[in-house]
């Protein structure tokens, strides 16, 4: 297994990717068009998605809370709405910790849906509530304990389509960005995504 990073190509239109391929999408519901298509916008989160041959209903999306968060991103002071994971069943995980307007923790939402049932492909969305969680995908891939990865991998055998939330913490400013040093899976947020063929 292994595709050289040099094989990454930049495309202006993500929909040129064949439905015969699975997709892994990195991006918040603010910045990423694909994430927004599935989870809605922070102002109008949604909990269902119509694929080309299925309908998926899920519990979590990203929504806005009252208040603002101010942080550095790419050496620029960024002021955003305060956001969190919202739940269609009114059972969300605790929101990112904020003191004043400063973010002290963040949440990363992993959503795995079908891309196409007939081609047996998946769409995986990794969406940070705020920027630090988005950057923490690096921690997810690189440093999360093998024990935790194995537990998630085992859970994700059945159901195949699911959502799960990760808390990122140890936030500090490094080179003009707020970055996290720790990521922790919140196992009690593991939720089955209901998928019905259409």
């Amino acid at each position: 297994m292994g595709i050289a990073a040099s094989s990454i190509t930049v495309s202006a239109d993500l929909f040129t990717v064949s439905s015969q391929s699975s997709l892994i999408c990195l991006g918040s519901s603010r910045a990423s068009r694909m994430t927004r298509l599935i989870l809605g916008s922070p102002e109008q989160p949604r909990f269902d998605f119509l694929g080309r041959d299925f309908r998926a209903d899920f519990e979590y999306a990203i929504g806005t809370l009252q208040g603002v968060v101010i942080r550095q991103q790419d050496h620029i002071e960024l002021r955003t709405d305060r956001r969190s994971i919202v739940s269609s069943l009114n059972d969300p995980p605790p929101p990112p910790a904020v003191k004043g307007t400063e973010l002290h923790s963040d949440l990363l939402l992993l959503t795995r849906l079908p891309r196409s049932l007939t081609s047996d492909t998946d769409t995986v969305v990794l969406a940070g509530v705020h920027g630090p969680a988005m950057r923490a995908v690096e921690l997810f891939v690189k440093t999360m304990s093998l024990k935790h990865l194995r537990e998630i991998s085992d859970k994700a055998r059945e159901p195949r389509w699911f959502q799960m939330v990760f808390r990122v913490s140890g936030l500090s400013e490094t080179d003009g960005n707020v970055v996290a040093s720790e990521i922790e899976p919140l196992f009690d947020t593991f939720r089955k995504v209901k998928v019905n063929p259409m």
């Binding site: 595709i3 990073a5 892994i24 995986v124 998630i152």
Partner: protein, 59 residues
């Protein structure tokens, strides 16, 4: 991202909706970072990540 690509076929980042020179530079920066991640991963971690991300191994 190389490992994510290996697990899932294609990876779509924030650049999908608008491409600017700054965005492309950022993608290239990210690519350098991901090269270093790729080098640091063990086979066991790759296998587990594939299980979490795409159980059919991607296409």
């Amino acid at each position: 991202m190389a490992t994510l690509a290996a697990a899932g076929g294609f990876v779509v980042g924030n650049a999908a909706s608008s491409l600017t020179e700054a965005t492309i530079e950022r993608v290239i920066d990210v690519q350098s970072m991901l090269d270093s991640i790729e080098d640091a991963l063990t086979d066991q971690r790759r296998e587990l990540l594939a299980g979490v991300l795409t159980p059919n191994g991607g296409r």
